[in-house]
């Protein structure tokens, strides 16, 4: 029987929109790089570029995790607090040799996983809104951290921690290799694996996901665990970059990671987004921040530009896909 329905939007139109969605950001980034190169001769110098990327790497790691939570209609405000807490945790071993580094990593990942588990449990099982659950977690971690350090952490770290920021393997910075590995592994999980499909189903329609045999609670909890673990790893790498432990390592990363994800086309309403595009969002954010400095603007200008960009980007994706 011939189709009796209203005419469909042609599929080409749909994919053009999605291509634009994907490449529009690249175009923007390239334009930004060009502007940067023209305005500031120092921008394209390898030293500056490496510097930009080194700053970008820990944020990128947090974003990789943040996406998982946003995709299931959540968000995680506790990532930054977790980063600082993991940094403080790293000092707990009072290690002066590099032998302790694997242990520090193991402890950080385990601790982060537990935090993610609690966040996920609150959201999935206790019906606490992700905003409030992770907000509470943020404050609680902050309290625990300060209570442990008494306000002033003693920065005893293995000397090798600096390698996380400055080290290179085959000439490529270690932190970028790690970010690439994280992005690829979790990219495959998200976009190719069965779990990834379940994540998109839950984000798109949790009720329907349940009726199709998926356990939404389990998926949401897993997403929170992945998010926290990524943030924990990002925290260690940021610690390596900063060099000394403070109670505020990673401050602002909770919002920056959400900003980058939104700029990278991840919908806060869940069920739509791509890890690699979101990482482009990180690149744009970091390049803009760098540009502000190179142009000699006061650093506060970053805040203003960031504010305009997050609103603009969200509005852009909204209209593109409306």
């Amino acid at each position: 029987m011939a189709p009796l329905e209203t005419p469909l939007p042609r599929s080409r139109g749909v994919s053009v929109a999605s291509i634009f969605e994907r490449y529009g950001l690249i175009v923007f980034l390239v334009a930004l790089l060009l502007v940067a190169a023209v305005l500031s001769p120092t921008f394209l110098r390898p030293a500056n570029l490496v510097n930009v990327l080194t700053i970008a790497a820990p944020l990128g790691m947090v974003v990789v995790g943040q996406i998982f939570v946003i995709l299931v209609r959540g968000l995680d405000l506790s990532v930054a607090s977790l980063m600082a807490t993991v940094a403080v945790l790293a000092t707990a071993f009072k290690a002066t040799t590099n032998d302790a580094i694997p242990m520090i990593f193991a402890a950080a990942i385990a601790f982060s996983a537990v935090v993610g588990l609690v966040n996920g449990w609150l959201v999935a099982k206790r019906d606490v809104s992700p905003f409030l659950a992770t907000l509470a977690m943020m404050i609680i971690l902050q309290g625990v951290r300060f209570a442990y350090t008494g306000g002033a952490p003693i920065s005893t770290l293995p000397p090798g921690m600096g390698f996380l920021a400055s080290g290179r393997i085959l000439g490529i910075p270690v932190n970028l290799i790690t970010l690439a590995l994280l992005a690829i592994v979790f990219g495959i999980v998200l976009h190719r694996s069965r779990l990834g499909r379940e994540i998109f189903m839950v984000g798109s329609n949790p009720k329907a996901a349940f009726l199709n045999g998926v356990a939404p609670d389990r998926v949401i909890i897993l997403c929170h665990v992945i998010c926290s673990v990524c943030a924990g790893i990002g925290g260690l790498f940021l610690l390596g970059y900063v060099g000394t432990v403070s109670n505020w390592v990673g401050q602002g990363y909770e919002l920056d990671s959400i900003v980058a994800a939104v700029m990278g086309g991840v919908a806060l309403t869940g069920g739509r987004g791509n890890i690699f595009v979101a990482l482009l969002g990180v690149a744009v954010l970091v390049v803009i921040n760098n540009l502000v400095l190179l142009l000699g603007f006061p650093i506060e200008m970053q805040l203003i530009i960031k504010g305009i960009i997050i609103i603009g980007a969200a509005a852009f994706y909204r209209t593109r896909l409306a």
Binding site: L75, L122, R126, D127, V128, S129, F131, L132, A133, L135, A136, M137, M138, I139, I140, Q142, G143, V144, F146, A147, G151, L255, I258, V259, V262, L268, T269, P298, E300, M301, Q302, L303, I304, I305, K306, G307, I308, I309, I310, I311, A314, A315, R318, T319, A322
Partner: protein, 317 residues
């Protein structure tokens, strides 16, 4: 009797209030038991003094949350307003009558802009107010990074004035809450916030001016931030761009503890007032007990979780 029960069931909210009130009573009793300085006029005077700013900002937050939105720009706005007020008054201390209304108008306008942006750009309020917060904060810092400015004597006196032993600012706060409550429950425009918060599409189909109501709620949040800034500047005597940073998230706690749900359409200002009392009193008591502020953070986080858990469980039944 069954009618009473039915009324209670219908008005699940009032049960939330009962829980918060019970907790408050428990807290006062515990406070009196644990410290002989807690149950004194002097302490309560202090306590009211402390809760005025948080109360004001939380009230503004309540309007927006009732609407189903959230305002993450309040903290920056409070900071910016204190800077404006203090610097203006340092320049012309005689123009107090002009400075304060100007500050309120500006804060209200910025609040309205938040609302307007959510409508025009159709972007989630979380993102809009987050972005605006960043812009406001950046702009304020570009003007002045450090606390500065000053206030005339009269304004400072107002903040420490007492009437029958009660801080005048607290009386003003309660009066504003009462007015806000009356407006929300008994006026057409106030009720319309519940309609829009309950179901925006339905409100539109019912011919309500949805956009106007949204802008109004955010404008009110801005106005409350401006009022909070006045209280704050009067007390501290300076304008400090960073003073509101923590207020943004702090202002949400009393709202949700008071039973106003983030999804919108349910709750009220009485709950928020009780929530502000609870949070402030708890911190006050913990100070008396010499509990470090670090643990107070932990406790505040736990309160959010417990309160929201209680309210959502009640709702599911």
């Amino acid at each position: 009797m069954s009618a009473v029960v039915a009324e209670f069931r219908r008005n699940r909210l009032s049960l939330s209030y009962v829980i918060v009130v019970a907790l408050l009573i428990l807290l006062v009793a515990a406070g009196g038991f644990l410290s002989d300085r807690f149950l004194t006029w002097r302490n309560f005077g202090n306590l009211f003094q402390q809760l005025v700013v948080l109360g004001m900002v939380s009230l503004g937050q309540t309007f927006v949350v009732l609407l189903g939105g959230i305002d993450l720009a309040v903290g920056s706005l409070v900071g910016a307003s204190t800077v404006f007020i203090a610097h203006f008054l340092e320049w012309r201390p005689d123009l107090l009558w002009l400075a304060l209304p100007l500050a309120l108008i500006a804060a209200t306008a910025i609040g309205a802009l938040n609302g307007l942006l959510t409508i025009v750009l159709r972007v989630h309020p979380l993102i809009v107010t987050l972005g605006m917060s960043s812009i406001i904060f950046g702009a304020t810092l570009m003007y002045d990074k450090e606390p500065g400015g000053s206030v005339p004597r009269g304004l400072a006196d107002f903040s420490y004035a007492n009437l029958w032993g009660i801080p005048v600012t607290a009386i003003v706060l309660v009066a504003i809450f009462a007015l806000a409550g009356l407006w929300l429950q008994r006026s057409r425009s106030g009720r319309s916030i519940y309609f829009v918060g309950g179901d925006r599409e339905a409100a539109r189909l019912n011919g309500l001016p949805v956009n106007r109501i949204v802008v109004m709620a955010y404008a009110l949040s801005g106005l409350c931030a401006g009022l909070a800034a006045i209280f704050l500047t009067a007390r501290t005597g300076v304008g400090d761009p960073r003073i509101g940073t923590a207020l943004t998230l702090q202002s949400i706690t009393p709202v949700v503890v008071g039973g106003t749900i983030l999804a919108g359409g349910r709750g009220g200002v009485l709950g928020t007032l009780l929530g502000v009392l609870l949070v402030t009193m708890l911190n006050n008591l913990l100070n008396f007990l010499n509990v470090s502020s670090y643990y107070q953070w932990v406790i505040q986080g736990l309160i959010i979780i417990v309160a929201v858990s209680i309210h959502t469980t009640r709702r599911r039944q």
